[in-house]
Symmetry: C2
Subunit: 233 residues, 2 copies
């Protein structure tokens, strides 16, 4: 059966300690779907019908205004997205599309709200998750307002290198440069030039492969700050 994903969802901090009965209620109306890359899952402004859980693959959250589009964040396994819209019963503020082939669990927002009202443990877990999301966006806003695009790129590379296994000097960018540029709030042309500028600090790029030959130098330029760049805080 498709029941196998229950365990994966259960392993999320958000659901870990929910009472069995309530968890079952959440799973009852939920289902899992496999999506090919580049599929729009939700659109900005739509009512929030489902809480989404990324089980595998990755999902881009992005936003529009006046004909412009920008990438806001990437959701990776195993995490939820648009939890805030679900809880507030408000329209989505961002759209979402799969970046690669992805398995997504969909839990009806109504069920989430019902269990939320019934299960104090779940409500508390939601708070932890939301507080975490909130702090993530605050960090993004600080990054945008306090740094130039070159500084944002440098700090992004340092973070990405740590995230990629073993902290090797070499790692692959997780998506194409167009998207990376948008995520960092710059144009693709500007990103190309920024990579070139970072050569002075020991950064070399070949396709999606990035190598940081002198982490000390890059750090000195990037000045990473836990209150902007650390996921944990």
């Amino acid at each position: 059966m498709a029941d196998t994903y229950f365990g994966e969802v259960r392993s999320l901090a958000l659901f870990a300690d929910v009472e069995e009965e309530n968890f079952a209620a959440l799973m009852r109306g939920s289902y899992v779907q496999n999506f090919p890359p580049q599929v729009e899952l939700i659109a900005e402004g739509d009512p929030s019908d489902f809480l989404h859980v990324v089980l595998s693959g990755s999902v881009e959250l992005y936003a529009h205004w006046n004909g412009r589009e920008t990438s806001m964040a990437t959701a990776r396994p195993i995490s939820t997205f648009i939890l805030a819209a679900t809880i507030r019963q408000a329209p989505y503020l961002m759209s979402a599309r799969t970046l690669e082939k992805s398995r997504i669990a969909l839990i009806p927002s109504q069920d989430v709200r019902t269990v939320f009202d019934r299960d104090a443990v779940f409500a508390r877990a939601v708070v932890g998750e939301l507080a975490h999301c909130y702090r993530s966006v605050v960090k993004t806003a600080k990054d945008l307002k306090l740094r130039t695009s070159l500084e944002r790129l440098a700090n992004y590379l340092i973070k990405e290198q740590k995230r990629s296994a073993e902290g090797l000097a070499d790692f692959n960018l997780p998506f194409d440069k167009k998207r990376l540029a948008s995520l960092l709030g710059m144009t693709p042309e500007n990103l190309s030039r920024a990579f070139k500028s970072l050569q002075a600090y020991g950064v070399t790029v070949d396709g999606a492969r990035v190598s940081i030959s002198n982490a000390r130098d890059l750090d000195r330029f990037a000045r990473p700050d836990p209150l902007i760049d650390d996921e944990a805080y």
Copy 2:
């Protein structure tokens, strides 16, 4: 006695439905203080010892990096700030200072966490508040990434005009232009020039007094969007 502020705090959505006993527990260790303008209440990176509630006046939330400073938001009565840090028991991501003479209630973070664990109603209220905060910052990030500084100013003025009583054509900027510039992510010089550019759309400024002579024109330029500019969503 100073007990009078209990009612004010109680009137916050966050505390409205908390059980009397738990509310008392929150108030027991709390106190109210009057601060003059320009007092730093909390500093970025400090442990979160108190949940702050603005009872009167206003508070600026701001952030630092690498010798630069930027204004992130304004907290107005009656609202809390740094709730997320309190809940996650994490260091503040932003500093806070009074903009004007302000009355602030301070509730020990430990008590907030205790009541949070004991009172499901409170936990749910916290969720609502956090979801709201989260969505506010997402809107800010969209504003920053999708708009030029001129567009941000135009939309800010439209919002501020609505916020100021009766939606008159004239209203006063709520703080000095230096701060406004920082809030909008630009320099004071640039703000001056931006105001001048908006004259073409019927905006005139005299000191802190702003007048919008042709709302239609300004709207057509600013293109306000509920998913970025509406507080309510």
